[in-house]
């Protein structure tokens, strides 16, 4: 799921209505979250990128970020895949009997994320015996998430610890499902970043600025703004957002 390693984000808390997700959201020890699980949180690195690679932070006159916190950023290792990665590869059908609203099954689902990638992908997304991935950012080519409409696809990625996908383009149902579940940010790049990044590169995504930084290569990329989908994902999906903004009644606990 989309987590924030923001420097400070007082509005970003684990909403009690976010009943689907029971795992730690942020590695910063200063933010206490009710549902922090005991599982070791690998993906995000809690310190900011090394100063020599730190790009100049854009000023307020840059891309308007009214819909998403301008301090939201993700930092970690990236895993790179190519074009037309279909949802059977993201989460094969045999695992779809796992129900994501059950915490232990949600976790199990995450452990199978991208297990369907053929053996030509020698570096596996999740190490054997692990249940989350050390890669928190997925970089892909065209038509990511094509094929079946299974919502388990973005859910498995989120459960595995993916904060965001940066793809050249998405299949529409996968895109909708990512937003509706709030599990991952489906970001779009302007160029073929999958050809410029390698698995294991250290990257930062500055969400508010729609910027991708590859610290390993020193290159930066502009992405298409996530726009109004941002608050929906940040809230934890359309139902959480609808409750948060008063559009539908809060769940009586």
């Amino acid at each position: 799921m989309a987590a924030s390693s923001a420097l400070s984000n007082p509005t970003f808390t684990s909403s009690p209505t976010r009943h689907h997700h029971h795992h730690s959201l942020c590695p910063l020890s200063s933010i206490k979250l009710p549902n922090s699980s005991k599982q070791p949180f690998k993906p995000l690195i809690s310190h900011p990128p090394p100063p020599c690679h730190q790009p100049q932070r854009a000023t307020a006159t840059a891309t308007p970020t009214t819909s998403t916190s301008s301090t939201t950023s993700f930092h970690g290792l990236c895993y790179v895949v190519g074009d037309n990665i279909d949802t059977d590869q993201i989460i094969p059908a045999e695992y779809l009997t796992l129900v994501p609203s059950k915490p232990d099954e949600y976790k199990k689902l995450g452990s199978y994320a991208l297990i369907g990638l053929p053996s030509s992908h020698q570096t596996r997304f999740i190490d054997p015996g692990e249940s989350t991935s050390k890669y928190s950012i997925l970089i892909a080519g065209d038509n990511f998430g094509c094929g079946s409409s299974r919502e388990h696809a973005p859910v498995a990625l989120g459960a595995a610890g993916v904060a965001a996908v940066v793809a050249e383009s998405y299949a529409r149902i996968f895109f909708r499902n990512s937003v509706a579940t709030g599990e991952v940010y489906p970001l779009e790049s302007e160029v073929r970043v999958c050809e410029e990044c390698k698995t294991g590169d250290v990257v930062t995504i500055e969400l508010g600025e729609s910027r991708l930084v590859n610290h390993t290569t020193g290159k930066e990329y502009v992405m298409k703004p996530i726009g109004d989908a941002g608050p929906v994902i940040e809230a934890g999906g359309i139902f959480a957002y609808a409750r948060k903004t008063g559009m539908i009644p809060l769940q009586s606990s």
Binding site: P64, Q89, A93, S119, N143, R172, I173, T181, D228, F239
Partner: protein, 480 residues
């Protein structure tokens, strides 16, 4: 216009509406933006269309316009759309909801079985009229309500009607476009929203037009036509777009063949596929639905994003080679590919006419298959047809008899079966790295089970021909 209607309801969050609109390529966000106003199902007055200003528009735009109670829409507009039918098998108007369990049915996997129990509890609690339940897994016939593959069942039960909006929690919901309606797949959370609100926010798609003319050769089926198209535009060529199938050839197709055509629109990334309703449609529906419907048609001067024209008389039987539905090749050029098995089934290729087609090839050959040949009828009705309908030119034999004589496996319990792999004990699942010719819809790595399995997508004619030789085979070897 949708966007201006929304403007008055902007929440404080989103005051850069235009930036969001143009930069954001999906419609989901506006779902929330509008819901404060739109969540009630009250019908607001319909504005009378201003005839002098009305531009020619496509079928898709017109269905959306009617369902969103707007005079007219153009591609790219984000609008709230009233939903006529929501189909789901993953779990507003109780009669507008159709729940059809068919994935992972005949398995001992506890979680799979649990899914059906959860659906049953929900339907009982909510008093859902159309729940095609199954309890006795050992004998599908003992379940009077059980239907089988949702997309085929929807059609057979009369839930598909021209001019309507149908959503389903399965990517092949686009199959229903064969009935001249807008039908598309959505995720379960989106469906949850529809269950509560009866509406969904959708972007009006631009339309790609595929004009198919010419007499359909006797060795070609609709599956070959759609494989031709997908090979032409690629697996992402129709992303976010509507695919309209017209032309004299399309008009000559039966409803089941039109369903095959629209079924694989998603494989080109299409939002939906659509075939204009005509007398064939009306005849099919005559004994299946008593609900009134009003077909919708593209205007003559409607603008399409692109138009593709095919002379069908010049086309040849095709396959989609591993591992992509757009990896198009002529079946005859793959004749050296040795195969291990053949699978005939699924919403794409497991309908009654698909089996009749396969039977036609076996009949013409008179020989036995050289590889295990799995037959999985899509629904109970299809299964019954296999055992009762006489095959033309056979002297009164049924499909099941012809299949038996050819040495095929006994037709299995109707379901999606191994099209998508599923639990390990699923019938005909590919548990080893084998080569399979299949009448199904996807051949991505691992689709039918084993990651190294090689799937050649093909028509029932080509599948049957291949079963007889043990190699990928052009059906003209048997059909003169």
């Amino acid at each position: 216009m949708a966007s201006s209607a929304v403007a008055s309801n902007i929440t404080p969050f989103i005051n850069q509406k235009d930036v969001g609109l143009s930069a954001f390529s999906s419609q989901s966000c506006f779902l929330i933006q509008n819901s404060r106003r739109r969540i009630s199902k009250k019908i607001v007055s319909v504005m009378a269309p201003q005839q002098s200003e009305r531009k020619p528009s496509t079928t898709g735009s017109k269905i959306f316009a009617r369902a969103s109670e707007k005079p007219q829409l153009g591609p790219g507009e984000n609008v709230w759309v009233n939903v006529d039918i929501l189909m789901t098998h993953d779990v507003w108007g109780r009669e507008k909801i159709v729940i059809i369990p068919e994935h992972y049915i005949f398995t001992s996997d506890e979680r799979a079985n649990r899914n059906v129990d959860i659906l049953r509890d929900f339907c009982t609690e909510q008093n859902i009229k159309y729940f095609y339940d199954i309890k006795d897994l050992s004998n599908f016939k003992a379940n009077p309500d059980y239907k089988g593959v949702c997309h085929v069942a929807l059609a057979q039960e009369g839930h598909c009607r021209p001019g309507e909006v149908l959503l389903g929690t399965d990517s092949h919901t686009c199959t229903a476009g064969a009935f001249g309606q807008f039908a598309t797949g959505i995720g379960i959370t989106d469906a949850g929203f529809v269950l509560g609100a009866g509406k969904i926010l959708l972007k009006v798609p631009p339309t790609l037009r595929f004009v198919m003319d010419g007499e359909m050769p006797n060795y070609l089926l609709a599956k070959d036509l759609i494989l031709q198209i997908i090979g032409e535009v690629s697996v992402s060529g129709a992303t976010y777009k509507s695919m309209e199938f017209v032309g004299s050839t399309v008009e000559s197709l039966t409803m089941e063949e039109r369903m095959t055509l629209c079924n694989m629109a998603i494989e080109a990334g299409g939002k939906n596929g659509i075939v204009p309703a005509d007398s064939t449609t009306h005849k099919y529906l005559a004994d299946k639905t008593s609900l009134p419907y009003e077909p919708v048609y593209s205007d003559d001067k409607a603008r399409f994003l692109s138009e593709y024209r095919f002379d069908v008389s010049k086309l040849e039987p095709l396959v989609a080679k591993p591992h992509s539905p757009d990896n198009r090749a002529l079946a005859r050029e793959c004749k050296d590919v040795k195969i291990d098995r053949v699978y005939i089934g699924s919403c794409t290729g497991g309908k009654t006419e698909d089996f009749l087609a396969a039977a036609e090839v076996f009949l013409a050959s008179g020989k036995k298959v050289k590889v295990p040949t799995f037959l999985v009828p899509a629904t109970q009705k299809v299964w019954m047809d296999l055992y009762s309908l006489p095959v033309p030119g056979s002297g009164g034999k049924t499909c099941s008899q012809i299949f038996e004589e050819a040495g095929c496996d006994t037709p299995a319990s109707p379901s999606c079966g191994a099209c998508l792999g599923g639990p390990r004990d699923t019938y005909a699942r590919m548990n080893e790295a084998q080569v399979c010719v299949s009448t199904t819809n996807r051949n991505f790595p691992g689709r039918m089970g084993h990651k190294e399995g090689q799937i050649y997508l093909a028509s029932p004619y080509t599948a049957a021909a291949s079963a007889l030789t043990g190699f990928v085979t052009d059906p003209r070897e048997f059909l003169q």
